[in-house]
Symmetry: C2
Subunit: 400 residues, 2 copies
């Protein structure tokens, strides 16, 4: 190989072809095992979605890609039940989707009513505190949800509140919040406050109707019931919320500025914002197509069936579920670890001996639980049977 | 399919198997064309890296994955020339890496000296303003860089400055900043200010020695000279900068809090922060292995050769390059669009007729240019010849 001399600025004069051995030739390639991902996510990915990632990489500034963004935006809006405002995705995890809603819609000093009954509700509180908001914190124990009456009362007592935050499907407990009821009550109350909802574990697995329910900002992720690989956060924002981004001179970090994201996704000619991870976009695009091909109602019913089936299986074996039946999500089931059993050790055996991942309790405040996900391609009775059979091997007497 | 009744909260009672046709069965799958990505990035990805994305997906909380993070951190540190502090990656684009350094190390009201001579330097200024910093702005025209003497003078006049920001390799102009010289001069001056450097277009394509040069914070991206798919931002932070994260009670957004990222990446037992996009991590892991197998010096020399070759080709055809030769990056070449030629139209012909992507000027402040990337797997004379041949077809008389 013939080499040109390379000097661009004085400090790079010394660059010549090195004859020394490469630095790290001994690093072995990574060899992850094959797992059944039956925890709270990521879930396993449909082979058709993985195949979509083999399509040729084109650039975030390629007009062919811009065109497809509008198709993706429409599909994301459909899954969210939104035609108003803007629906698109952030090139980041659900954690960024969570914080983007706060940084765009809450200014330091604003009052916000936030309900938390789990790890992710608590994370919202933490982000609000970091934003400098005055937070009216409403909490309930892990396994419950804050009653809507409490939220509405707090809102009535804080008429200057700019937003109400809830978690529609709490990933740390498997509890559903009655979001439709809250949204309808807020509309009926005439409040000007926005409604913000965590839909991370909900999207693609249970109904979401943001327009009809009056939810202004929602965020989710790609790797649960949508069953794409992790890495993207589908978000949706109402027209009236878009108008409040950056109001009163409040500063929004550039990388999370939703108005800038909308300029890239929706406005034409588009404005460059960041380099999108296009192979991940191809995967989400295909996963959304699969969801819509299946039919959202059919998909929700499939998740409902798988969840009811696995929950019945755990109850038959004597295990208690963390939430009340009326609050129980289908796609995520928190099973109480019986007294005297080391839940983490059981998780380790399931992982290392059976190659089955189930989740544990998240954070120091969680009671001892296992979290079983029936999400995406795993939302079926066959997967449930496989998980239950593994538990039977490890704990042959069930909870007894 | 037998369906369980599903009611978790009142609003979901109505869910039953729908017999209606799926909503969007008519959406065709996305079919991106095969392009030679010879612009400023993303660049084409090595087949071995794409193959790594086919490995089984495991979770961000899988102990097998945590172990691998430490290997990845070591490889990222090697590419950055850093053993001090922490090197890892953000699950986001380089834009987020840019802003993370500001949000973690600059409090509102802090004084920062920032040098800009291009689109990305200007973006740093914008992020600093949004952070509420007092910005000592030093600018130079597109195609130049701010002289180090000016930066050092500004620092001497603002001894309370907490940070100096520069762009090592300006992606919008193809200009190299003499970073080593600046870092050494700052150390010699005894200043307490941190040194922050954009290494987006540099990483994997030219030498970076953060420890030796005294650079405290650097960020980059996966999709240029490292030649992984877009989506991740390798970052590196010195020990003394880590100690300043969150100093004096300053608030850092949770999703970009580098101390939280370090707890996940480096500390053991790890603390959950966000769901990492693991297929993208597999790809970056393999791309880093490839870089180190090749040998960094060999890799830099390959980029240097390809850049010098394509630059000679454009000059032979009568084109002017934007930067002075002494400031010219190898891996990214900004070619001035000759008077009377519509540069955007030429880009369109190259894209649509030749399936070759080259970049244009970025933003309204840029002079008319094309940006040619010789990055990663594309950093070779064969690719350069293909690009030059396409220009010859579209502009048979060169610049004349």
């Amino acid at each position: 190989m013939e080499l040109a001399t390379y000097h661009a600025g004085n400090q790079r004069m010394e660059i010549v072809l090195s004859a020394t051995a490469p630095e790290h030739a001994t690093i072995e390639s990574f060899q992850p095992p094959t797992r059944l991902l039956a925890g709270p996510g990521p879930s396993n990915v449909d082979p058709r979605v993985l195949e979509a990632m083999r399509k040729p990489l084109i650039s975030h500034l390629d007009p062919v890609f811009w065109e497809r963004l509008l198709v993706m935006a429409e599909m994301i809006g459909t899954v969210y039940g939104r035609t108003d405002g803007a629906s698109f995705c952030l090139s980041q995890s659900g954690t960024s989707g969570m914080e983007a809603g706060i940084l765009n819609l809450v200014a330091p000093g604003d009052t916000v009513v936030a309900a938390s009954a789990g790890f992710f509700g608590n994370r919202i509180l933490e982000m609000l505190r970091r934003r400098g908001a005055k937070v009216v914190e409403l909490t309930a124990p892990f396994g419950q949800h804050v009653p809507n009456d409490q939220i509405l009362d707090a809102l009535a007592q804080n008429p200057n509140a700019v937003m109400v935050c809830v978690v529609y499907a709490e990933t740390s407990t498997g509890v559903a919040h009655p979001l439709q009821e809250l949204g309808e009550a807020m509309r009926a109350s005439g409040t000007d406050a926005l409604l913000y909802a965590d839909c991370v574990t909900a999207i693609g697995g249970m109904p979401i109707e943001l327009d009809a329910w009056g939810v202004d900002y929602a965020y989710a992720c790609s790797q649960k019931c949508i069953a794409a690989p992790p890495g993207l956060s589908p978000v949706s924002i109402s027209s009236r919320a878009i108008e409040r981004i950056g109001r009163d001179g409040m500063q929004v970090p550039y990388s999370l500025d939703l108005a800038e994201h909308i300029k890239y996704w929706i406005d034409r000619p588009m404005t460059y914002h960041h380099t999108t991870p296009n192979l991940s976009y191809y995967a989400l695009d295909e996963a959304l197509r699969l969801s819509l091909e299946e039919g959202l109602d059919v998909r929700y019913a499939r998740h409902a069936d798988a969840g009811a089936y696995v929950q019945a299986g755990f109850r038959e074996r004597g295990f208690d579920l963390l939430p009340a039946a009326s609050d129980q999500l289908a796609q995520l089931t928190a099973v109480r670890v019986p007294e005297g059993i080391d839940g983490k050790a059981i998780q380790g055996i399931l992982l290392n001996t059976h190659n089955i991942e189930v989740g544990g309790g998240l954070g120091p405040l969680s009671p001892p639980i296992w979290r079983i996900g029936m999400m995406g391609v795993n939302a079926n009775r066959e997967t449930a049977d496989r998980v239950l059979a593994a538990f039977d091997t490890v704990l042959p007497n069930g909870a007894h």
